[in-house]
Amino acid sequence: MTAFWILAPIMVLAAIGILFVRKAVHAALLLAVVMISLAVLYAGLDAPFLFAVQIIVYTGAILMLFLFVLMLVGVDASDSVVETIRGQRVLAALLGILMVVTLVVGLSQVSFGTVVGLDAANEGGNVEALADLLFSKYVFAFEVTSALLITAALGAMVLAHRERTVPKAGQRALAEQRMRDYAESGKHPGPLPAPGVYARHNAVDTPALLPDGTPAEASISRVLAARGAVRTARADQVDEVVRQLAAPGSQTEVVDVPEREGDDVTSASDVAVGESDASAPGSDSSTRAGDHSTGEGERA
């Protein structure tokens, strides 16, 4: 009974959490808490077979399926806050309170009698006793269950299968399409710019900086942009970092800048690696960006 009194509040809190968390993944994790706690309760209720099945089938298979579908559905899966039906939440909460009150009042008026316990029924082992029941009294239901499972598997295959209506574009077709786009709309035929070039970090969530210091949107993954996980990386922030790094007694490095102006390759790699002497190449890159901006502007 101690296990029950420890687990019951956890389960209720986790279940209430499912109602309030914004992200579906968090709801799935809270549901996992509830399900594992339930498995422990089953173990305490003399149901070792259901304890194992609860963990294997529910937390192992069903929740993994949920997480799989969440992964496929992707970033759009968060709930919107606005109500489409006015007053729906208040009404739902009222209904819930009403239901809980009804159930509690009703249950408190029932006497459940003394607990018989499963010691006699589980004498030859819980699994054996369950198997006896399943394959004698409930054998028809068991057979029907197999039909249900096959139907579910077939249904999932039919629903998730997508027939291809147009042939898959091969390498040649893609290349031709790229060149046609370039000829018609001037779309750049080459690969997209890499993230983090000349920016504060070379991380994938930091857009590359264009010669005029503005971030290049095309250098960031579409998914990161949709999640809102993109860092800002403007040239003035680079200057800010340079000033912070070069604040005490590193005048020589800042004076160094004009000498490094010439060798593009080394300074670019310095910026990308972002080592301790990032102060000099950092300011270097911003000045260089200024130098090149006219030429790049013409090309664009």
Binding site: M1, F4, A8, M11, A15, I16, I18, L19, A24, A27, A28, M35, L38, L41, Y42, L45, D46, A47, F49, L50, Q54, V57, Y58, A61, I62, L65, F66, V69, L72, V73, D76, A77, R89, L91, A92, A93, L95, G96, M99, V100, L103, L107, S108, V115, V116, G117, L118, A129, L130, L133, L134, Y138, T145, L148, L149, A152, G155, A156, L159, A160
Partner: protein, 99 residues
């Protein structure tokens, strides 16, 4: 062991699941709340099995689990298909059958 606390917990979990079905927008979370309701009923079945000294409650809980697994497979496949065609997993967007 007393029966009553288990049954009350089951009732509370069932109610939370029902409210979740009414409140949440995301079809996948609605599905999770349905699962919560099924689990709550399973807890009541297993508790009654012990209270009555009879394993039939556990057999019933076992069948509920099987049906829940089948239901989740088909339901999630439907959600995926709807998401593929409408780019949304919200239960409010799929309103084509409304008249």
């Amino acid at each position: 062991m007393e029966t009553e606390p288990y049954i009350l917990l089951s009732a509370i979990l069932f109610t939370i699941g029902a409210v979740g079905v009414l409140v949440r927008r995301n079809a996948i979370v609605v599905f999770m709340c349905v699962e919560l309701m099924l689990n709550a009923s399973n807890l009541a079945l297993v508790t009654f099995a012990k209270a009555n000294g009879n394993l039939e409650g556990q057999v019933a809980a076992f069948f509920v689990m099987v049906v829940a697994a089948a239901e989740v497979v088909v339901g999630l496949a439907i959600i995926m298909t709807i998401f593929r065609t409408r780019r949304s997993a919200s239960v409010d967007d799929a309103s084509l059958l409304r008249f």
